[in-house]
Structures are given as C-alpha cells and as structure tokens.
C-alpha cells in the first residue's frame, strides 16, 4: 500500500468534514446542556456511575447490545432486527475497520479523521498482502451487510406489515431528507470504491463492479465525482441529523448510561426527560401498542408523537397528548430505547398551574384511626391484618364480599379500613400530576394505617397497591397484594381449592402487571381454582381495559371502543369467562362483556372447598 497524494487531502472531503464537525459540536454542546440541567445530586450520581467499573461495563455491554445489535428488536421481529442491526453494526464495523486500515498502512495519517472514511481514494495497492485481502474482504462484506439493511429499509417504507408493524409514523420533511441521504450513503460508497478498486484494490464486491464499470466507462474521470457524491451524502446526513429522528443514534448512547446510573425524570423537558425525547427513534412501535390507537383520532396521541411535539415545542399538542393517555404503560413496555411514556406525561401534568389546590386539612383522621384501632386490637394472636379495598371497590361490591368470605374461610381476622368511610389512596391525584396534594393525602392515610396498630396491610386494588408500595412510608407494616396473600394462605393450607370446569382467561391489569410486575401469582391461583387460558396479548403486552383513571380527557364513547378491543383480545382465547384482579377492569369489562367477568377473589371464593378449622 502506498499513498497516492503527498498532502493527503482533496477538496471533496470538505462536505463530510463540515457535517462531522457540526454534528460533533452540536452533540457535545447538547450533552453539556443536559448535564447542566440535571439536578446536582443526579449529575453527581451520573458522573460517578461512569467511573464505577460495574456500571461502566454494563453501559458498554448495553450500548453494544441495544445500539449496535438491536437485541430487543430481534425479539420483536426478526426482519426488523436484522434491518436495524445490519445497518448499525455494519456501519460501525466499516468505521472500525477503516481506522484499522489507516492504523496499519499509513499510521502518520491517524490524526486526519476523514482518512478512514475515504481511505480507498487516498491509497494505491502495490502488493497484495494476506492481511490486506482479509481487510478488503471484510470491508466489502460489511458494506454488503449495510446495503442489505438499506434494501430492507426501502421495502419497509412500502410494506411495513412485513416487519410486524401495522402503523408507522409519518416522517417529517427533515426526516425524509435524513432518510434519503442515509439511503444514498452506502450505494454511493459502493460506487466510489468500485470506481477506485483498480487503484486501491478491493474484494469480492468492488473488484467485479470495477471490472463491469470499466467496460462501459473506460477512464478515471468518473472517479472523483463519485467520491464527491459520497462525501456530500455523508455531509447532508450529518448536518440534518440533530433535527431528525436520527438524533436517537447519539442520544441513546447517552441515555443508556443515564438510566444505568438510576436517574429519574424530575423535569418534564429538561435533563433525563430531554435525553429520552432525543432518544426516541420515531419507529412507531408504540402506536400499535397504544390501546387508544384502535381509533384513528387518537393515533397521534401516543408516545412517539409526544416526543415529536416536545421537540417541536408545540405546547397545545403536548398538553393534549399528556392528558389523554391512559398511563397503561404498554408503550414503555414495548419501547426499544426505553422512553418512559407514562412518566413523561405525569411530569408534563405536574408542572401545570392550578388556581385551586386541594386542601385536606379539614379531614380529621382521628375518628377513622380510633375506629380502625378499636377493631384491630380486638383481633386474636397472629398478624394484625388491615384490609384496604379502595374507592373503586365500593362500586364493585362483589370483590369486597369475596375477599371477606375468603378471609373468613381461612380464619384470618381482619379489619376493613374503608368499609364505611375512607380516603382515596392518592394515586389518582398523583397520576393527574397533582403531586403535593397526593402526598398530603398519603400522609393522612399513613396516620390512619400506622395509628391502627396493624402489621399487615392487605390491598385488593392494584391502583392503590402500586402507590402503597412506591410512595408510602409504613414502617412495621407489610403491604401485600391480595393475590400474594391468598397464595400464602394456600401454601399454608388455610385455603383449599378444587378445580372447577370453568375456563378463565386472565386479564393482566395494567397497574398490577406492568405497574407492579405481578404476572404469575394470579395465574397460578386461577390455575388451581379453574381452567386458565391465555389471550394473544398478555402479561406485559396486555391491553388496557380502557377504564383507566390515568387519562384525564378521554371521554366515555372513546373508552368504550378500547374496552371492546381489549375484550376481543380476551375472547380470542375462547375461555368461558374472564378473570381479572382490579375493580376498575372488572366494572369496565362487565359493562360490555358477553361472558362473565370475575375478580380473582370471586374465582377463588367459588372454588374454595374446605374451611379452615382453628
């Protein structure tokens, strides 16, 4: 190998250079700004995590798996996974190998960072070394890999269904420019390297192409224009990158360390949230996942559009999207880069200004504490169980009745904390973004629970359960979901079940499944009490019933369509009945279901055969 030009420069590298400098400058500036926006403790935490070996290694591993290999996408759809990883990993390898070539053949040029990109233009092949042949082969191989990915990407634009996506986002103008320039880069590189292959050498792809081209265009005049074109395509791509969805490429690489550092969204637009917005690749996986997308009017209200509107600063739409969401969490569950859609929305809601703020000072908890304490103290030996059924359960009395019956059968003495009057758990206020009010309510409930002297807080509503576990401070009190509690009672032999012939399909309530990670216990319990079937979309991909309190603006008619869609998913299992573990899902489904809908407690109660004999 020898260099063709002593100065090692040609004007055609300028477009690339401009683009490169711009994008690097932009990203570095952006990164510093985001770091600056982080609250102090978060920033410390983040910087510390970068130098902690364990997290640093994890960062590298996560970036490799997610940004280059797109492991999550492979799990979702093979074609989609191949397309993304071929482009990302192939490109990465081209850059890496390019550097290797420069390092090996002209180490004095290492500091010129356009050199690895346009290596083939600047060198001439004088002798065939084994190493060179291997490198050339690899370069051609990865270029072919990238080209296959680009080909798939083109097909995807026309037929997204082949890739398992019913709907994708509509790219904006700049997105299109970015997209077309990205598509252009690699065919142009192939062209440029092919025209140069008789000078610089090549491999299985470029040498035959060079031979073919030389049959038609027998001189080297075409050589330079193709390199120009290649450089211009690169330049355009890099200049528009910060303003397109391709920003996710650099952003995600920073999001992963931030997440690994344990940061949380503290501000709806700044810091960690901003990083999430920038990391959104706009792939649109969340559109199909979103329960609202059954109706066309709501398609533009899923997380990908929230991110897009935040980037555009369209306040009106940001508010609409933030308020409409059911907070079911499915977009987060399916998101490839880990954008926390629901948390972003709650953060948006939390900065809203209200002229009226709830004031719970007027609520005197003393009588409630007294009533609960009097009951709790009556209980005999063993854990002092306090049962919190939650507001919604008053409208689904069958749950309370079944829980009471089951506890009676198991011989568990308990106190029903909110049988007559009770306070809300605070989660609806929290999800509405009224965090201070929610905390005030939480303090009131804490007073009651701690004042009652109970040692176990049994919760049947997953909406309440989530906030009890996440936001309450209840020292000495074990907060337990009723599914877990009944599972324990079964293990202890205090409840005995006999399988009935009814076959249930279990609907994972958003708050219990995605919210609290409880998927298996209810299934295990139902499996012991009756037959169990699975719906097509289940567990983390379960479809929200549409009744969620998360949405502030969705009206009744729109919710109905979602409920019916969720029911259709459940009907698909061909089960006789539907079981769930949330009062809100229960009443929402019961409104429209063509088959019985039962709560977990009801299912268990109906199959309990023997009573506990103390």
């Amino acid at each position: 190998m020898k260099e063709r030009f002593a100065i090692g420069f040609d004007p055609f590298v300028l477009p690339f250079l401009v683009g490169m400098v711009f994008v690097l400058g932009y990203c570095l500036f952006g990164l510093f700004r985001i770091l600056w926006q982080l609250p102090r403790e978060d920033r410390r935490k983040f910087l510390l995590s970068l130098i902690t070996p364990a997290t640093a290694l994890k960062n590298i591993w996560d970036i490799f798996c997610n940004c280059l290999l797109h492991v999550k996408l492979w799990k979702r759809n093979k074609m989609l996974g191949f397309m993304h990883s071929s482009i990302a990993f192939g490109w990465f390898m081209l850059i890496l190998l390019g550097h290797l070539e420069v390092f090996i053949y002209c180490p004095e040029r290492v500091h010129l960072f356009y050199y690895p990109i346009f290596f083939n233009y600047f060198v001439a092949n004088n002798e065939s070394t084994i190493g060179g042949a291997v490198l050339f082969f690899l370069m051609d191989f990865f270029l072919l890999l990238v080209l296959s990915g680009i080909a798939l990407a083109m097909i995807k634009r026309v037929r997204s269904r082949l890739f398992g996506m019913r709907r994708t986002t509509r790219p904006s103008m700049l997105d299109r420019i970015g997209l077309y320039s990205l598509w252009a880069i690699f065919p142009l590189r192939l062209l440029a390297e092919s025209f140069t292959a008789h000078i610089s050498g090549g491999s299985f792809l470029t040498i035959p192409a060079n031979w073919v081209f030389r049959q038609f265009l027998g001189n080297d005049l075409n050589l330079l224009p193709t390199w120009w074109a290649y450089s211009i395509a690169l330049g355009i791509f890099m200049v528009v990158l910060p303003f397109t969805r391709y920003m996710h490429i650099p952003a995600e690489m920073m999001l992963i360390p931030m997440r690994n550092a344990g940061l949380r969204i503290r501000h709806p637009r700044k810091g960690f949230a901003k990083m999430q917005v920038l990391s959104c690749p706009g792939c649109g996986v969340c559109i199909d996942a979103c329960p609202m997308s059954v109706q066309k009017v709501n398609i533009k209200d899923c997380t990908v559009y929230l991110n897009r509107q935040i980037r555009r600063g369209n306040e009106k739409r940001i508010e609409e999207i933030s308020d409409k969401c059911l907070l079911c969490g499915k977009c987060e569950a399916v998101c490839q880069v880990g954008v926390e859609g629901p948390k972003m929305r709650v953060a948006q809601r939390s900065v809203r200004r209200y002229g009226l703020t709830p004031d719970f000072a007027a609520i005197d908890t003393a009588p409630l504490v007294q009533a609960a304490a009097a009951q709790v103290s009556k209980a005999a030996a063993g854990p002092k169980v306090l049962y919190f059924s939650g507001c919604m359960t008053r409208l689904t009395p069958s749950i309370g009745k079944a829980v009471t019956s089951l506890l009676g059968k198991a011989g568990v003495e308990f106190t029903w904390m909110d049988r007559e009057e009770g306070l809300c758990c605070g989660r609806p206020l929290l999800t509405a973004g009224r965090i201070d009010a929610a905390l005030a309510l939480i303090r009131k409930n804490q007073e009651i629970i701690l004042g009652s002297g109970a040692s176990v807080l049994l919760v049947s509503c997953p909406i309440c359960y989530k906030i009890f576990t996440e936001r309450y401070s209840l020292p000495g009190v074990r907060v337990v979901n009723y599914a877990d509690f009944f599972a324990e009672l079964l293990e202890q032999g205090r409840l005995k079940l006999e399988k009935s012939d009814i076959c249930y399909v279990y609907h994972d309530p958003c708050e219990l499944g995605r919210g609290c990670g409880i998927y298996e216990t209810p299934r295990k319990l139902i499996g012991q009490a009756a037959g169990i079937a699975e719906a097509e979309k289940n567990r983390a991909e379960s479809i929200c019933c549409g009744g969620s309190l998360g949405s502030l603006t969705l009206d009744f008619a729109h919710r109905e369509v979602m409920t019916r869609k969720a029911l259709d998913n459940l009907y698909g299992s061909r089960a006789d009945a539907i079981a769930t573990a949330c009062p809100l899902c229960l009443s929402t489904f019961r409104r429209y279901s063509d088959r019985p809908v039962r709560d977990l407690a009801e299912v268990l109660d109906a199959s309990t055969v023997s009573s506990f004999q103390p």
Binding site: R352, C391, M392, C424, G426, L549, T553, A557, S587
Partner: protein, 108 residues
C-alpha cells in the same frame, strides 16, 4: 348616613339573566360534558370527599350555572374517579374538576 339599626338585606333570589356565567362558559369550552348533567345526584352520594367538604359535582355544576362560587366545595376532591364511574350521562367529571381548578387560576 344615618344608622337606623336596621338595613337593606341582599336579595337571595338569583337573577338568571344577569348571572355572570363567565366561569361556566370557560368550563364548557374545556369540558363540554358539563352541559348534559341531569342532576341525578349519583356523583354526590358516591363522593369520597363528600363527608369532609360537602363536595358535590351536581351542586358544583348547578352553582356555576347560577353564577355562584364553588371554590370551597372543590377543596377536598381526591380525584378518585368514582363520580365519573357512576355518572349515567358519561360526564368526565374528573376532567371537569381539573379544568375548573385551572380556570380559577387564570381568573386571579
């Protein structure tokens, strides 16, 4: 002015045509559902906050339609959503309440 030891008392009747419906109209724009309330009272009786603050979405809507103040009533609302669940006309009462809380802010 002479102190007679008694004075004019304000009329308790509401002059419907002179009522300031500004707040109600603003709310209507944000949550049109407010128009279809038929005053059945389901929301009031199911209200979690009711025992503490006299919260009643029915009264709230009616008071707004009569130009009366509703601020006090809203103070204990926990947004628990039971009223939304029981409303036979499908009114999004939570959004109604949140919207009202916001409008109050803009007024001041």
């Amino acid at each position: 002015m002479i102190d007679f030891g008694f004075g004019l008392s304000r009329s308790s009747s509401v002059k419907l045509d002179e009522v300031d419906l500004g707040l109600y109209h603003k709310l209507e724009a944000l949550e049109p559902g407010v128009r279809v309330c038929m005053s059945c009272g389901s929301c009031t009786s199911t209200c979690t906050a009711g025992p503490w603050s006299g919260m009643s979405v029915r009264k709230l809507i009616l008071n707004l339609q009569r130009g009366k103040d509703v601020e006090k009533m809203l103070s204990c609302c926990m947004l628990c959503g039971k009223c939304t669940m029981v409303c036979p006309r499908g009114i999004n009462t939570r959004h109604l309440i949140l919207s009202l809380c916001r409008i109050y802010g803009k007024k001041q």
